[in-house]
Symmetry: C2
Subunit: 359 residues, 2 copies
C-alpha cells in the first residue's frame, strides 16, 4: 500500500517536523496543497502543543503530522560537571557582551506521556516520533485512536524494530539530513548510524514491508524522483522548506542557508547535546577547538539557551544553531506554495520524460 493512501494525502511529500523552526503556517500551507505538513512539538509544553494543533486546524482541514521525541533516559550530572560546562560557555557570553553565568537550575522535563496525551485527545491525523523506538504498547495505543504513526530510522536495524512495533511507515533519515539525527543511539563518532540516503533507502526497503519515506539531502524534483527509484514511497524534506517565509527561523539563518555550499555543514552535539547537522559558525568551531565540555541532551540545550537567544536578538548567526542538510546550496527563496507546486510539477515532468532515456 502506498504511503499517500495510508496518510490520506495526494502527494507523498512530507514537510519535515523541525522543532522551533517549523510553524503552523508552514505545515498548513503544505497540507493544503496535498502534501503532509508537520510540526515538531517536542520542545513545547502540553498546553502549547494543544494551541499549535488548534492553530494548524484553523488554517487547514487536511491531514497534518505532529512529532515528538521518544522519551530518553536523562544523564545525571554532578554540580561540578554542570559548572564546568557552564564555565566553558562564558567565553561565548563574553563574546556577545553578556554577563557570565555560573549557576543554572536546569528545568525538569515534562514527561512524554503528558505531551502524548494531548496528541491523543486532539486525535491528530498523523503522529511521528524520533530519537528511538516507542514500544508496541504505546504505538498500538496511539493507533487505537485512529492516528497513523510514523517512526524514524537511521539504520536497517532501527527500521526493523519500528516495523515490528507496528508503525504505519518509516522515515529513513540519511546522513545528509539537517538538524538532529533521529537515531536511538548516542552518536559519538563518524561511524555510528550515519548511512547516506542512497545506501540506506534500498537496504531498508528490502528489509521491511511497510512504506519507507526517504529523507536527507533531498531538495528538489531530482532528489524526489531519485528517492522513488531507490524504492521509497515518499520523501520527507526539511532544509528545502526552511528558507520559505512561513518557517520560523531567524532571518540571518535563512540568509546563511541561501549563501551556503556543500562544504558548509558540520555534524555537532555542541548546541543541544545530541548530534545534529548545522551550518558551520564560530560557536561550533570554537566549542570544538577549545575542547569545551558538552553535556548530553537535554542539559546541554538548557545551558546554551541564553547564548542562542541573545545571538538572535543581536542578529548574529555566529552563535545561533543553523540547522541545515548537506544540499542547502539548493535552497530557494520561495513561498511554501511556490516551492511545493514546483516540486510536484517538476517531479511529474521527470517521471513522464524519463522513459525516453535509456542507458
Amino acid at each position: 500500500m502506498d504511503v499517500s493512501k495510508i496518510l490520506n494525502i495526494q502527494h507523498p511529500i512530507i514537510q519535515a517536523p523541525m522543532a522551533l523552526a517549523d510553524s503552523p503556517a508552514l505545515a498548513a500551507a503544505v497540507s493544503n496543497l496535498g502534501g503532509l505538513g508537520s510540526l515538531g512539538a517536542a520542545l513545547f509544553e502540553p498546553e502549547q502543543i494543544r494551541q499549535k494543533i488548534k492553530d494548524i486546524r484553523e488554517l487547514t482541514n487536511k491531514p497534518f503530522n505532529i512529532n515528538l521525541f521518544s522519551p530518553t533516559e536523562s544523564s545525571n550530572y554532578s554540580a561540578a560537571e554542570i559548572n564546568k560546562a557552564l564555565h566553558d560557555l562564558n567565553y561565548f557570553r563574553n563574546k556577545l557582551g553578556m554577563p557570565e553565568c555560573n549557576h543554572i537550575d536546569i528545568p525538569s522535563v515534562t514527561p512524554f506521556a503528558e505531551k502524548l496525551a494531548v496528541i491523543l485527545e486532539e486525535k491528530v491525523p498523523i503522529f511521528s516520533f524520533t530519537f528511538g523506538i516507542l514500544s508496541s504498547e504505546i504505538i498500538q495505543s496511539i493507533k487505537s485512536h485512529g492516528i497513523k504513526v510514523i517512526g524514524t530510522a537511521t539504520t536497517v536495524r532501527e527500521g526493523r524494530l519500528l516495523e515490528q512495533n507496528g508503525v504505519d511507515a518509516i522515515v529513513a533519515q540519511g546522513y545528509e539530513a539537517g538538524g538532529h539525527r533521529g537515531t536511538d543511539l548516542k552518536i559519538t563518532s563518524i561511524n555510528d548510524a550515519l548511512i547516506g540516503t542512497i545506501a540506506l533507502v534500498p537496504q531498508l526497503v528490502d528489509a521491511v514491508s511497510i512504506p519507507v519515506i526517504a529523507s536527507g539531502g533531498i531538495m528538489d524534483a531530482r532528489g524526489i524522483v531519485a528517492a522513488l527509484i531507490l524504492g521509497a514511497s515518499g520523501v520527507q524534506m526539511g532544509t528545502a522548506f526552511l528558507t520559505c517565509p512561513e518557517s520560523s527561523i531567524h532571518n540571518k539563518h535563512r540568509e546563511c542557508l541561501l549563501s551556503s555550499s556543500d562544504e558548509s555543514t558540520w555534524l555537532t552535539n555542541v548546541f543541544t547535546g545530541r548530534m545534529a547537522r548545522s551550518l558551520k559558525n564560530d560557536f561550533l568551531l570554537e566549542m570544538n577547538k577549545r575542547h569545551c565540555s558538552v553535556l548530553n541532551f537535554p542539559q546541554q540545550s538548557a545551558l546554551v539557551k541564553d547564548i542562542r537567544e541573545e545571538a538572535k536578538k543581536q542578529n548574529n548567526p555566529e552563535y545561533m544553531s543553523l540547522w541545515s542538510g548537506q544540499a542547502s546550496n539548493l535552497c530557494q527563496n520561495k513561498t511554501a506554495a511556490e516551492l511545493f507546486n514546483e516540486l510536484v510539477n517538476e517531479s511529474n515532468m521527470y517521471l513522464k520524460n524519463i522513459g525516453q532515456k535509456f542507458i
Copy 2:
C-alpha cells in the same frame, strides 16, 4: 555531450579502479560488455603497470581505464615517530603469532611521472586520478596523447578545479563509497569533504558543464537510475564488483562483504594513513580503542603491510583491510558478466516503466 560518447563506451557504467582489489580480468569483462573496466595502478611499479595494461589488452579490444594517485607531499617523520607507530603495531603481530618488528626501512616511492610515462607510452584509452587535482599542464599533456582524462571530486570545490584544469569528466565520490576517499584534503574529522551522494551529485552537476559520474553507495539498477535522475551522466561502482570472482580480493573479504549490513563499515585511516571505508574488524577497532599512532600515507601503509599479508596467509579477515561501501549488504555472488548484464537490463526496465508512476 554524454559520458558514453566521450569515453567511447556503450553503457555509462564504470567499474571503479580499486588498487590491488581489481584485476585485468575484471576490467576486461566489464569493458567487453560495453561498460568501462578500470585498473588501479598506483601501487605498482612502472614495468608492472606496463604488464597489467598488456594483460588487459589481451582480454579486450574495448576502451579501459588506468588510475593513478596524484602525487602528494610526503610527511617527514623522525625515527622516534616511526618506531612508536611500529611498536604500537606489535600488539597485532603478537595476536597473529608473528615476531615483533622494531625496525623498518620505508621504501621510497617511485615518482608519479615515471608511472604516468607508461600510461602515455601505452596510449591507454582513458586515464583517471584520485587524491588531488593534477595541474592543467599535466592534464593537457595527457590529453595530447589522445587519452581521455577523468578526475575525482568529493566536493563542488574540487569539481570546479578539475573542470578548470581540463578533465573530460568528473567522478563525484559520495561519502558512502568504499575504499579511499579521493579528496585532496587530509581528512581528520567527520566534517571534511564527506558529502553524501544524493547531496553531492546535483550540486556538482549544477556547478560544472562537463559530465559528472556518480559514485558511492550505488549497487544495483535502483542506484544507477537514481544517479541518472540526480543529473549524473553515468555511475562508477566499486563494492558491487568486489564480490565477483574476477576481483582479486581474498575470499574471506568476499565472504565478509556478502554477510555485511548497513552498519558494518567505518571510515578509518589505520590501514594506510589515508581515510578509507572498510568493514569493521578487530584491527581497526583495536587501533582505535588503543589510540595507536597512525602515520600518514604512504608510511602507515608500509608499516602495516606485513600484518595484512600475514592475515591473508592465515585466512583471518580480522587483520585485513576489508574495503567496502555503505551498501555492501546488496553485494551479490555473481560473475562480472552476470552482474553487468543485470545492471543494464534492470536499469533499462526501470527507465521504461517509470513513466507510468506519477507522484
